[in-house]
Structures are given as C-alpha cells and as structure tokens.
Symmetry: C2
Subunit: 311 residues, 2 copies
C-alpha cells in the first residue's frame, strides 16, 4: 500500500515576492512547484495538497472594496473571499499538476475540493483579533466600519488603519473522510486552501461562515492527522529551519524531536507570523501520532531525507 502525504504549499510557491500576480507568473510558479511535488509520487506517496492564499485573498478583498466604490457591488464577507481563492488557486494547481503528470507520462486523477473548516465561536482568538487583512483605511473609513463591528489596528508605518480578524484554531476539516478515500485510491486531492473557509455551528445547529483567517499550516496538520497521513510536508522558501538565525552560530536543523523543537520555540528561535507557526503545525502533527513532519523548500523534495524533519 502506498504511503500518504499531506503537502502544504506556501504562498511563495504560488506568487514570488515582488511579483504582481499576473496569471502567467502564477501558472509558471505553480507548474514549477507541482513538478517538484511530483517527486513524492516516485517515492511511493499518495498526495493531498493544501495551499496558502495570502496575496490572493488580499487582492480579492481589495477588488471587492474597489468594486463597491466604483460599481456599487456589495462587498462579500471573508468566508466568501477565501472560497473564491480556493476556486482560483485550486484550479491553477489542478491544471498545472495535470500538465506535470502529462509531461511525465503519469496517469492520475486530480480533484480540487472547496473546503470548510470548523472553528469554535468561543475560541479565545475572537476576543483578541490580531491578523491584519484587506486594504488600508483612512480614519473616517475606519470609524464608519467600527460601527459595523469591525476591529482595526493602526499601521506602524503610517499607511492607515487595517482591519484585524481572529485566527482561531481549526477543529475539523470538512469531508476529510472523502479526502482520505480519494487519496488512498491514488487520486491527487487538493483541499483546505488558504487554511479552509472558516465556519462555525450556530446555536440553531446551522452552519455559518465567520470573518476569520485559519492558519493554513495548522489546518493542514489537522487534516494530516485526520487522514492518518504518513508524512506532512510544509513547503516554504528555505531548505531548512535554522536556529540562531543571522548570527555566527546559525545552524540548519536536520532531524529534531518534538521535545527539542518545543525547546527552540520556547527560546524564541523562530519568527512569529513566519517560521514559528510552521514549526507549531509540524509539532502538532507528530505530537498527535504522525510519524514525521518535513519543513523544506520545493526543490528539496527530490532528495529523500532532506529538509528539517520533526519526528
């Protein structure tokens, strides 16, 4: 039986810093990333792919803002914006992965699912929203939106005010049983894009979207545990996690236990909002019974046992 892997593609696999986000830039980046990910097929893995959506969902929110100003089109809430990026990015990954497999002569179905992720309304994150999203607003715009319950933080570089939303923990990834079944049958499944569409169960029992951003690596780790994946790959833009970064004692981490990694986290070795959440997601998967998390860049996937391995 094939092994099962979850691969979380970072935003930079889709859109490199400095790029504006044209379709041809994104297609080229994604083809390259898929071409590297395909090496895991040669290593006998069945694949589930998740992905970030940072720059894309930022653009969608700006487009909604502009569409409201110019054409009076109602702005849509964040769950809808995330759903839109799951559609567009999922499509691009599916299409480029089809092209990669075509060129390698590999026959596999590739399916992209729109994915809700359950969060708790009582998650403490909702008490202290901290994740900035969308455009910069003027004081007047901010004051107007405060009335509608939005929260804001002032940009430290003076560019205005930015909306902040909660980043609650993922509780359950919708349709993970189907994801597992499809993947174990040999299909490549793309799911949980952008950390998933945040939704919660209301007191009436009905499901509803909520304005929040779920960390895509934590959502992917939760998915990897749900489907009992053998390995969880977090793809970022560096080959290894480093300690003592940017000091003479800078050191690549290769094989690290959960305990050691937790110590490094306590010692604040990793940047919040960047490597720290990836390390936490990596730890979560192994602490919940997963065999191994690998944090590395896409070009390292062709080498077995490369990157930083938490096990």
């Amino acid at each position: 039986m094939n092994k099962l892997a979850v691969i979380a593609l970072g935003g930079n696999a889709l859109l490199k810093s400095g790029q504006k986000g044209t379709i041809s830039e994104q297609e080229e980046n994604i083809f390259e990333a898929c071409n590297e990910v395909a090496y895991l097929l040669e290593q006998g893995y069945n694949l589930v792919i998740s992905h970030g959506n940072g720059p894309q969902v930022g653009n969608v929110m700006l487009q909604h803002e502009a569409g409201f100003k110019v054409f009076d089109i109602p702005k849509q809430p964040m769950d809808i914006c995330v759903a839109e990026t799951q559609g567009s990015i999922g499509y691009m990954i599916e299409q480029q992965m089809r092209n990669v497999l075509f060129e390698r002569g590999v026959k596999k179905n590739i399916v992209t699912l729109i994915t809700q992720v359950l969060v708790s309304e009582n998650d403490p994150a909702f008490k202290n929203p901290a994740k900035p999203v969308g455009p910069y607003y003027t004081v007047e715009e901010k004051d107007h939106m405060l009335e509608q319950g939005w929260k804001f933080k002032e940009d430290p570089r003076g560019r205005g005010w930015r909306r902040v939303v909660a980043s609650p923990l993922p509780k359950e990834i919708s349709n993970w049983e189907i994801v597992e079944k499809l993947a174990r049958e040999g299909n490549i499944v793309i799911t949980a894009g952008g950390g998933g569409i945040p939704a919660y169960i209301k007191k009436t029992g009905r499901l509803e979207g909520i304005d929040a951003v779920i960390d895509k690596d934590l959502a992917s780790a939760t998915l990897a545990s749900n489907i009992k994946a053998d390995a969880f790959f977090i793809i970022t833009d560096i080959s290894h996690v480093m300690v003592n970064f940017n000091t003479p004692e800078q050191k690549e981490l290769h094989n690290v236990s959960v305990k050691e990694m937790e110590k490094h986290l306590e010692d604040k070795q990793f940047t919040e909002g960047s490597m720290a959440p990836k390390v936490r997601a990596g730890i979560q998967f192994v602490a919940n019974g997963g065999k191994e998390t690998v944090i590395t860049d896409a070009s390292n996937l062709k080498e077995e046992n490369s990157g930083t391995r938490i096990n």
Copy 2:
C-alpha cells in the same frame, strides 16, 4: 440501487432579479432552493448539482476591473473568474445543503469540486464570439483592448461597448468518473458550476484556460450523459415550458418527445438566450440515451411527474 439525477440550478435560484447580491440574500435563496432539491432524495435519487453563475461572474469581472483601476491589481482572465465563482457559489450551496439536511435529520456528505470543461480550440463559436461579458467600456477603452485581441459589440441601448466571448460546446467534463462514483456512493456532489472552467489542450499537449463561457445547461447535459444519470433536471423560474407564449393559444408542455421538442425549436417557440438553450440541453441528454429531462421550477420538485418532461 438508487437512481442518479443531475440538477442544474438556474441563476435565479441563487440571486433573484432585482436583488443586489448581498451574502444574506444569496444564502436565503440557496437554502430555499436546496430545501426543494432535497425532495429528490426522498424520491430515491442520488444527486449531482450544477449551477449557473451569470450575475456572480459579472460582478467578479467588474471587481477585477475596479481593482485594476483603484489598486493596480492585475485583472485575471475569464477562466480564473469562473473558478472564483465555482468556489464562492459552490461553498454557499454546500453549506446551505448541509443546513437543509441537518434540519431534515438526513446524514450525507456533500462535496464541491472545482471543474474544468474541455472545449475545442477549433469550435466555430471562436470565429464569431457573441456572448457579452463584463462591464461597459467607452470607445477609448474599447479601442485599447481591441489591440489585445478582445472583441466588442456596441450596446443597443447606448450604454457603451461590451466585450463578447465565444460560447463553445462542452466536450468533456473533468473528473466525471469521480463525480459518478462519489454520487453513486450516496454523496451529494456539486460540480460544473457556471458551465465549468473553459480549458483546451494546446498543441504541446498542455491544458490551458481560455476566455469563453460554456452554457451551463449544455455542460450539465454532457455531465448527465457521462455519468449515465437516470434523470436530468433543469431548474428555472417557471413551472413548465410554454408554446405560443403570451398569446391566447399559450399552452404548458407536460410530456413531450424529443421529436416534438425539436419541432417546437424549429418553429422558434422558445426565446434564444433563455428557454431555447435549456430545451436544447434537455433534448441533448435524451437524444444521447438519457431517460428523461425535466424542466421546471424548484417548488415543483416535491411533486413527482411535475414540470415539462422530455422523454
């Protein structure tokens, strides 16, 4: 074994004419439509749901236009716009169908797939693009975009120039085998939204998106034939197809053969861009071996043998 049905939800099931498209309007419309569609479960059908995206993809294109003007965000091509609406509308249908099943005490998985639909680069429709999409442009804007290969038609009511794109025939619905398998296993599958993301195979063998709009009823009919559905439901805003519409001889059609329906089409009984393409899609399914196409409104689904039936 359960019977299998494909249900194509018309745009008005999602957004009623006169509504602006806020999230609460759409959620309410979709909950209502799903509540009616759920009667087909009681009649022993497994369900595959497709849907239109007319007003939504129109808004997405306007938002991209405004985002480019206000924030200099690159506009995305039509395949990406369709993919975005598959994400947002698919999500809303999946969520509201979950709520409907919850309230009825029915346990079923509901999965939403992002769906490419293959078209031919040589489809005659590309020689004569006729489907208007996106915003109205001034003469200067039009002339600028003509250089980039866009085609335009002047609005007869003087609102400016509108881009026209081709509406090629759907050749193959991606992942139809998986759709069939999931649906026959009892899962509700949402797929082929907005007629599918138009894509073609380039001379290199690579798959690529193309600026076009695929008729959602024709795409759904093709899907229904692919998965050997027992019935194909086209949901619109009237209970029956009519002949001699708006004359004293106006008559509801109940059970009609393919031959009779083709005769009505020849006699130009149905409006192009409205009922005529639905009738053509309905004929296509039965002519390709399907048992029955039903054209009706959602509230008629609770009655077996209601609506206009082509068989």
